[in-house]
């Protein structure tokens, strides 16, 4: 028995080293944004970068607190989250449905693909007037703007997901006599889910990127509105508050989606 104790101790020490390294990595992950902010603060305070354009983070934080206590910020955040949320859903759901149809039926795919490829590279900013004409200046147009940019990555990845389903699973379904509906629900949907979710993750990033453009027309509030009105009034601290909020929500959303992914794709 004394012989065995030795190797376990050796490995235990190895393991502890490993644990320490892992802890170090976690620390690095937390430390790096803090580090970035510290460097920024230092550069800005010391005048090495122009504090008028890059106000020190502490100044941004105090502006943030001001806006927060005045209640204004909550209003901006609320309305933007609403727009992002609805726009996201309105882009994701048709994206999935159309993507599934395209993936399953080759003629539909061949017909729609070129149209999607042609529309995708058109910048949102150029679509704003068209959206405005069709959907007016209300909430709908903002939601649609976001939906429009979310739609593309979702539809493309859904098609890729369906196509990537191993043909053996199609054979299994056929061999066991799956009906059309069963095939859709039990093979096509879950089979394409992993790749589809990557598209949705991308869609989420794009929804955030689009909020500024969406709130450039006829909005009177929202984080995007805050960013561009602050910017055009050269209130850079307020602008940075908006940008940091967007970063923050980007982080939160990707965590949420990763959680959803773990729930929806438990088999991975």
């Amino acid at each position: 028995m004394r012989d065995i104790k030795d190797p376990i101790e050796t490995e235990q020490q190895e393991w502890k080293k490993q644990q320490n390294q892992n802890r170090l990595k976690t620390w690095l992950t937390i430390f790096s944004p803090v580090c970035l902010l510290l460097v920024w603060e230092f550069l800005s305070q010391s005048g090495l970068i122009d504090a008028r354009f890059f106000p020190p983070p502490t100044a941004i934080v105090s502006t943030f607190i001001e806006l927060l206590t005045s209640g204004e910020l909550f209003h901006h955040i609320n309305i933007s989250l609403f727009r992002i949320g609805f726009g996201f859903l309105l882009g994701v759901i048709p994206g999935i449905l159309i993507g599934l149809c395209m993936g399953l039926y080759a003629p539909i795919r061949h017909f729609i693909s070129p149209i999607i490829m042609a529309l995708m590279p058109i910048p949102t900013i150029a679509l704003l007037p068209i959206i405005l004409i069709i959907f007016g200046i209300g909430e709908v147009s903002k939601v649609v703007t976001i939906a429009g940019s979310v739609f593309f990555p979702v539809v493309i990845n859904t098609v890729a997901g369906v196509i990537s389903i191993d043909s053996i699973y199609l054979d299994v379904a056929k061999n066991y006599g799956a009906s059309r509906k069963d095939f859709f629900l039990k093979i096509a949907l879950p089979g394409s889910l992993p790749v589809m979710l990557e598209g949705i993750q991308m869609g989420q990033a794009i929804a955030l990127l689009t909020i500024v453009a969406a709130e450039m027309m006829g909005a009177t509030s929202g984080i995007g509105y805050l960013i561009w009105t602050s910017y055009s009034a050269f209130l850079l601290k307020e602008m940075f508050v908006g940008l940091i909020l967007i970063s923050f929500f980007g982080y939160i959303f990707s965590l949420l989606l990763r959680g959803l992914q773990r729930k929806l794709v438990p088999w991975r």
Partner: protein, 259 residues
């Protein structure tokens, strides 16, 4: 040979046509399999074994010739296939996978549940019912696949190298399990394998196929009494000579097709 054969294949030919070169995968296959018979098909790689099975399973159309699967008296599916390792659905739990065929036939919930549980226990996976396939070893996955096919209670079972990717020990264990379930249900089985030992151990009859184009060139009755034990089978000199006979035959085919 009193009643009609369960599976009867006449002059089945399958050609894969492409612009430049067309491949004759199967050529004039004629074959009868009796009800309850366990038949193994052995042949060199690429000789068309999978193709034949896929035609019987309705996943591919033959180019010419015919086959019939004698319908049973009940409302049972005519065939179910056991695919290789990749054939179980990764997004369903073990239980859902086993229930798949029954669900597709929209049987009452209670029946689905009961039969699924029965066959899960049969293959010793009762405790793993809620797990996903990626948490299982290769051997366990193949058990799921076999349970799914048996739970579906088809007229015939088509098995395409189900144990090809397993290690030898697991293979022996699963072979025994398969024989034990089979002896209870007495299904008609058409089983494909590369392994001569496996064919000899499992089957009532071994069919030998030639390299491309695939034809059935020999058949061999295996009259070893059942239940069989690996020990008896391995120490049986008659089996050793049958092994060598098949081996020589296949070697000629394999060498011939390798050029």
């Amino acid at each position: 040979m009193s009643s009609k054969p369960k599976i009867s294949i006449q002059d089945l030919t399958k050609v894969f046509y492409k612009k430049d070169n067309s491949v004759t995968a199967l050529e004039n296959i004629s074959l009868n399999i009796e009800d309850g018979e366990f038949v193994c098909l052995v042949g060199p790689s690429g000789c068309g074994k999978t193709t034949l099975l896929r035609i019987l399973a309705g996943l591919e159309n033959q180019s010419s010739g015919e086959f019939t699967i004698e319908p049973g008296d009940e409302d049972r599916p005519s065939q179910s296939m056991v695919f290789q390792e990749r054939g179980i659905l990764p997004w369903m739990t073990v239980e859902e996978n086993v229930a798949f065929g029954l669900e597709m036939r929209h049987l009452p919930k209670a029946i689905v549940k009961e039969r699924t549980a029965y066959f899960l226990n049969k293959v010793g996976l009762g405790k793993f019912a809620k797990m996903y396939p990626n948490e299982l070893s290769g051997g366990m996955k193949q058990r799921v696949s076999i349970a799914r096919a048996f739970a579906n209670d088809p007229e015939i079972l088509l098995m395409d190298e189900p144990f090809g990717a397993l290690d030898e020990q697991n293979k022996y264990i699963l072979q025994e399990e398969l024989l034990s379930i089979w002896s209870e249900t007495k299904k008609t089985v058409l089983f494909i394998t590369h392994s001569i030992d496996e064919a000899l151990y499992l089957s009532d009859r071994v069919l030998l196929m030639s390299a491309q184009p695939g034809k059935i060139v020999a058949e061999m009755k295996i009259d070893l009494p059942r239940p069989r034990k690996l020990e008896d089978f391995r120490s049986n000199p008659e089996m050793a000579s049958k092994f060598l006979a098949i081996w020589r035959h296949l070697q000629v085919e394999v060498q011939g097709s390798r050029l």
